[in-house]
Symmetry: C2
Subunit: 367 residues, 2 copies
Amino acid sequence: MSDVYAVRRARLRDRCAAAGNPAALVSRPANVRYLAGGAPPGAVLLLGPYDNDTLLCPRTPGHEGPEGIDERLRLTAVPISGDPAVAAAGILTPSSAGSLAVEEHHLTVARHRAVGAVAPGLRLTDLGYAVEQQRIVKDETEIACLRIAAEIADHALGELLESILVGRTERHLALELERRLVDHGADGPAFPTVVATGPHSGRPGHRPSDRRVEEGDFLSVGLGADYRGYRCLIGRTFVIGTSPADWQIELYELVFAAQRAGREGLVPGAGYRDVDRATRHPLEAAGHGEGLAARTGHGVGLEIDEDPQLAPAAMGKLDACVPVTVGPGVHLPGRGGVRIDDTLVVRPEADGGPELLTITTKELLAL
Amino acid sequence: MSDVYAVRRARLRDRCAAAGNPAALVSRPANVRYLAGGAPPGAVLLLGPYDNDTLLCPRTPGHEGPEGIDERLRLTAVPISGDPAVAAAGILTPSSAGSLAVEEHHLTVARHRAVGAVAPGLRLTDLGYAVEQQRIVKDETEIACLRIAAEIADHALGELLESILVGRTERHLALELERRLVDHGADGPAFPTVVATGPHSGRPGHRPSDRRVEEGDFLSVGLGADYRGYRCLIGRTFVIGTSPADWQIELYELVFAAQRAGREGLVPGAGYRDVDRATRHPLEAAGHGEGLAARTGHGVGLEIDEDPQLAPAAMGKLDACVPVTVGPGVHLPGRGGVRIDDTLVVRPEADGGPELLTITTKELLAL
């Protein structure tokens, strides 16, 4: 287990060395966790030069040492007062390193300046999205965590559907779902749970309000579990009452067909934009092109929203073992709408094609 | 109501103009909210030049327009595809502005470069913590929100104390508290709720675990409500069982005395460091100096942790109408500890001295 992190760091170090950077400073929390196996808030990872990797953690009184860091990780963990990124640069001497690659998309201008000021002879370069790119393809341990996270979300959603919904507020349903996630073993929700009723339904990222569930509503729910840092996503839309209206059935079938097309497009080698186009096309053809989201899916892992992006202008192709969401939605202002989201892992056809992690039914249920 | 935001912006604009900056770009979310009265995630505020203020919001399909922005705010709200900060710089022409002050402590190096690249003739300067400083002294509307937030937290905590605690996990108690906050009208928890039992008790920022409450435990709880964006904090420590042990009574009385000394030091004109020293001294005198946190209190408002900092090296003096926390704690490794936190508003003695917002008793309750 512990070797995994050392291997990841060695790979990144090789990549940095090839780009002429003997040392790198990783500050984005998910990247630190990916490379160190765990990290307290605010920790940064100094990679190299040579084989020396150091995790610099903010000093917290009452905590005996950095938590979650296994001694077998071949990593020195050092508690730091002040900004650990600045302390990291202070460890390096210009003669030992020469240049230090930093995450310019994460460090603020002010921190970058402080890092540069503490070691004036050190040249700061840009590490770019090297760690994020390394994170795209998951190993089987990571996928196992995602599988459990999806199972937890399925359970929480399944239990909610068995309870009485009419008359309850979006806000309470969302809290109830988050409690159930934790009941089933999640470390927490993967993102703020979305519960959207009636005219709110189908709106991406809707914040739960005090509106109560009513007969005849569309109810769309988006939730996910965080299991050991790995985050999944499931979205479903239901109808409240005995029989859905015709427009509801029609809209649901349309979004369902689009989502299925996207799922079927998940093969190794498929372009990100091709999967997006497969999902998007049925909705555009039905005249819903205007209000569509900028993308129809994205990667998941240590962050709920990571690369790849399934979007019209996205460059790149899917690899095997890349977990992504496929989640188109249509919202009709004033009336409501439908979203259907799944988390899947790209697999070769020989292995049975895409692995569906979120297995709650996608039939239109009337609750 | 709406004029409040225009007045805040005018004040900031004057300050920028005095520093030679005809225009400013505010990107830190709490600062945007403070100046615009509300903002969707990712929105930035372009102030000036002249009287033109523009709120640039990420374009979200399914949302008809920027939410929470009142039309009376004298603010133009513009939906943007891509990075709103870059779009803001694109609006300015070097001839109209000359220079643009940005929040270097919030913008990343990569975003800062993109902002600079879109308007090459524009000189980027540092706005620094100008908005944060403006936010320190609150108006009575802000204090009213904090008062309600504190009332909600008191209610949630009070209800929990009436329930059976032994045998329940930290994680469940934390979720229960967060549900009660929302039940009582909070928009959400102000920060992740802390529930720490037995050996965990008294640890600052402890993440609730699966440990169950046991007879004889110290139980320390830290929670807060977010009410209309304003966040308060309350921390209490209890004893589980019929009678506390001698060491528990002794430690509790010590922390209580320290906390009272800090509260009594909250007068307009008192130095931040003097309030910290008043709180810290009794604990140091009792031999607990080593493990103490770097500060004993801090400001609250649109963020749960804002200026001022009540810490040994903090410069500056308290003003009236500044809400702060006073929350010393002692943690004995392996045994547990005590934290007692209040949110108070600094008031002149003529007005009755510091206004205590979190009114739950600080007697040592045995539950």
